[in-house]
């Protein structure tokens, strides 16, 4: 019943219909009339009881009146001192009753006085309004109000927020309100103990709002003085030369009016140029003024003649610096607060660091799985068969374009990816088998020439792709359910595509290990690679096995291409970006071993992300250092992480 009434009253407040129910005794008008003088004068102290009375009245029109008042649209009739909503009409106003909203006639301009609340009063009104909004029956409105509040927090919001917390029923909203209340307490509460308690609330909290609330407390400004200022909350004393450069220290002195600005080289030049007389300035011929020493000499002469500002010598400057104290001062005056804030921030920084490390680990894992996918085909063709296939990158590209073409025909992205994966395998398997039959098998005893021949194929395939698909990037769109990211908190997040690629890498690893170790084909592949002659004499056809192995490695490159195409631009140069890294992955990991590729990809992925962490702005430098590290690594472990030993290594 109560809800019904308040709902109806709410409707009245929105002017959907005049509401006679609300016209009860002692309406808003009555309250305002009680404080008429104060409301009209707009003095902050006098208005406060009026606003409080409105707030306390529980009247539904109170909110409307406050909003209008704050917007400077409330008018007072001079004749009787009553307050009205007024809308301009002709050369006067159309009045409405502030309790009922009913039309209250027309008034000439001269009859009405506009209420012009001062900034302070409007702040008070705003705070009162906040209370109304935070107590709004609709939780969505409360949430909006809270969000607005957190964007522009003010001291006056603290009280209504606390009331709202007490009244809140929605647990999630209540938690958010409490957080904001803690943050506002830190910023605006007058009681130091309460603030310190609130600071403690955020200890180890990785939320951005926590850091935003704490950061202003430990903000410092630099200053200079003859002696350390008494009573100031000094963060630390700075030593010129160690903590700040002498130039910076001098600038602080100049700012504090404790020393004159030093004469710069540009000043000297300007002064000399202004004082050239008869081919000389300051007694030094102009043609000799091409060195700093000569210019300083000339300037000194000018200064001595009183025609330029005298310079401060370096020795004098040092003496002046020595006579002053340089410090960093907290804006927050209370040492107890800054101390607590520093401690809380330190714990947050530690937690954030740990989280960033976790995030970095996820990034590195995802990079490693990309490298692994790109390299795993090579781990077979190069690692097992010792064939250098420079066109491997182009097989990746072919896979990606296959995915693109499939999407042209199959509009459903989920189905198209499911079709593209086996199709890409088939296409590149075919290409690989064709290449093995036509080119590579003639070159098994000339590995370096395989490198060159496959490079020829690589440039031809790249140009063919350019001729067919053009040079601009083609989209390969991931299905909708792979959009977005798995978000753990403000710091740790990973996109679903990367998770999918990680899973795919694992599936591939398992599949290949199964094929190579548990199937007849795998057995024959291992037999042929270890001793082709012996394998042949046991009835295995090495030609067939080589062909199938090469096809397998190429097919996997194609599937990897679809995966890579999902997050990279599909261009004819897609494969180029991966080829060198892929070879390094295989070599670093250890040739002849699927797990080698895994180890290599892991090492390279983590290494690259690790180096990027130290210098996040410069991924090119990170890649450079990573490659240099790999070159050094190979010096010390020429056979990679997982090395075959002894005679089997076949050195």
């Amino acid at each position: 019943m109560r809800i019904l009434i308040s709902l109806l009253a709410f409707c009245a407040g929105l002017w959907l219909a005049p509401a006679p129910l609300a016209a009860q005794e002692g309406g808003v008008q009555a309250i305002l009339q009680q404080h008429r003088e104060a409301v009209a004068s707009g003095s902050r102290r006098g208005v406060e009881p009026a606003i409080n009375a409105l707030k306390a009245s529980g009247l539904d029109q109170a909110r409307e009146v406050l909003e209008v008042w704050q917007a400077r649209e409330l008018y007072q009739r001079a004749a009787d001192g009553l307050f009205f909503f007024a809308a301009p009409e002709g050369d006067g106003f159309r009045l409405r009753d502030i309790d009922t909203g009913a039309d209250a006639g027309f008034a000439a301009k001269a009859e009405m006085t506009q209420l012009r609340p001062s900034g302070g009063v409007r702040g008070l009104i705003g705070a009162a309004l906040v209370a109304f909004r935070l107590l709004d029956p609709d939780p969505e409105d409360r949430r909006t109000a809270l969000a607005a509040l957190s964007r522009s927090p003010e001291a006056g919001h603290l009280e209504p927020l606390r009331d709202a917390v007490a009244a809140e029923t929605d647990p999630a909203l209540r938690r958010d309100m409490e957080r904001l209340e803690r943050a506002l307490t830190i910023s605006f509460d007058r009681d130091e103990a309460a603030r310190i308690e609130a600071i403690g609330f955020f200890e180890g909290d990785t939320g951005l709002d926590a850091r935003a609330a704490l950061a202003p407390l430990v903000a410092t400004t630099r200053g200079a003085a003859v002696s350390a200022p008494e009573g100031a909350n000094i963060a630390r004393i700075l030593e010129p030369g160690d903590d700040l450069s002498e130039e910076e220290a001098w600038a602080l002195l100049v700012e504090a009016g404790l020393a004159p600005a030093r004469v710069t080289k540009a000043d000297i030049r300007a002064a000399l140029e202004a004082n050239i007389e008869g081919g000389a300035a300051g007694g030094v011929p102009v043609r000799d003024l091409g060195s700093d020493a000569a210019r300083e000499r000339a300037y000194a002469a000018l200064a001595a003649a009183g025609r330029a500002q005298p310079t401060v010598t370096d020795a004098e400057a040092r003496a002046i610096l020595d006579d002053h104290v340089f410090f960093e001062r907290y804006a927050e005056p209370s040492p107890a607060i800054t101390e607590a804030a520093e401690a809380a921030l330190a714990s947050i920084t530690f937690r954030v660091g740990a989280m960033q490390a976790a995030d970095l680990t996820l990034d590195a894992l995802s990079l490693a799985s990309i490298y692994f996918l790109a390299a795993i085909g090579l781990a077979i063709t190069f690692g097992v068969m010792r064939v250098i296939n420079m066109a491997h990158g182009e097989f990746i590209m072919m896979g990606a374009y296959t995915g693109y073409v499939v999407q042209l025909f199959v509009p459903d992205y989920t189905i198209s990816i499911l079709v593209a994966l086996p199709l890409a395998f088939a296409v590149t398997f075919g290409a690989g088998v064709a290449m093995e039959r036509l080119v590579i098998r003639w070159l098994y005893h000339r590995p370096l020439e395989t490198l060159l021949a496959t490079f020829g194929i690589s440039i031809a395939l790249q140009q063919l792709a350019k001729n067919v698909f053009g040079t601009q990037a083609r989209p390969l769109t991931a299905p909708g359910w792979l959009d977005g990211a798995l978000v753990f908190n403000d710091i740790v997040a990973i996109s679903y595509i990367r998770i999918a690629i990680f899973v795919m890498a694992l599936v591939f690893l398992a599949l290949l290990v199964f094929v190579l170790n548990r199937t007849r084909l795998g057995l024959e592949v291992r037999a042929v690679t270890q001793n082709p002659g012996m394998a042949a004499s046991m009835g295995i056809d090495p030609d067939r096995i080589n062909m199938l192995t090469f096809g397998l490695g190429s097919g996997i490159a194609g599937v990897a291409g679809v995966a890579i195409g999902l997050f990279a631009q599909v261009t004819s140069e897609l494969g180029q970006g991966y080829i060198v890294q892929s070879f390094m992955t295989v070599v670093v990991g250890g040739v002849g071993n699927i797990f080698g590729a895994l180890a290599g990809a892991t090492l390279i992925g983590f290494l690259q992300k690790g180096i990027e962490w130290f210098n996040p702005s410069n991924t090119l430098a990170a890649q450079t250092y990573m490659i240099l590290f790999i070159i050094l690594f190979i010096q010390f472990r020429p056979k990679g992480i997982i090395a075959l030993k002894g005679r089997a290594a076949g050195d």
Binding site: E273, W442, Q463, L620, I631
Partner: protein, 389 residues
Amino acid sequence: MQRSFIARNPSVLVFLAALALFTILVTILAEGAGAGVISTSFVKTLGKTLCLCLVAVAMDLVWGYCGILSLGHFAFFGLGGYMIGMWLMYARTEEIVLSANAGAALPMTPQELSDGIAAQIFGVVGGSELPWVWSFAHSLPLQLMLILLLPGLIALVFGWLAFRSRVAGVYLSILTQAMTLALSLWLFQNDSGLRGNNGLSGLQNIPGLAEVPQATLSLWFLWASAFALGGFYLLAAWVVSGKFGSVIRAIRDDEARVRFLGYSVEGYKLFVFTLTAMIAGIAGALYYPQAGIVNPAEIAPIASIYLAVWVAIGGRGRLWGAVLGAAAVSLVSSWFTSGQVPAVPLGFYTVEWTDWWLVLLGFGFVAVTLFAPNGLAGLVERIFIRGAK
């Protein structure tokens, strides 16, 4: 006693004569000094081709004779270009800055001059100070030394590390490719101090020679390139003709066996690798003033593979084969990509050679590898030398 080196290697004399004839002929026909049949830009193309032939000779020495398939020699070539480019750019900008200051009231201090130059050179990458790598850029002799020293030093350190740990064959190729990639990535970044992907430009303007027309300059560079090619061809031929050549060819064919003969294989490889890196640096230093611009894309791993392709097409293990391959492929390449080759209409499709040339080159290269492992030189020998017998 041994007969003289030239007497044992008549082909060297033939080559030098042909080179001299070619250079004189081009000079006579050029715009700058003669009939004007050959345009200045084509003279530059020919001069650049000679430099490419020189780096191909280096590649042949290291790969064709010593068996090290280096995918890094074009990086050394590019480094040579960067080293000369730094001086060219610095000295040229110095002239510009000084002339801009000519009307000013005061002469410039060294600091002001260097700041002015830095602002000109590094404005594009948002820098205003000369990075430390430019410490020697003011001095031509020092930069000329760096053309030799920098590629040589990198090759020495890299080679020492790689050969010491017995990295050989395709592994070494991959490692050299990684080195090349690292170098080009490093140059690509703006704070490497070499203007990032803008590279160094305006290198065709030789400081102090502003009044010499490009037509004449192009001939000077043609001659310089020809002399360098001739000189290093002679050096390379001398190196490979004697016992040293015998040792490095033996290393190429069976490294372990040479080791058991008591030769320290690593030392020989290091010597050849470093020497050829220096030759590549010189070739680059002559090439880029003719090209006018050097940027990190030139150093990308693919360029070094192309170099290997030229040598393979020309014929490994024969110095003149490498020269032939580099000249033929690079000239034919620029002819096809220039758009001067008439398109082939097939009715349903028109073959534009600018689009299809790389396809042709790629498959052509596969064919050469499969059917003519000794390259063009092998074919030439089969036709002429067998025919003469």
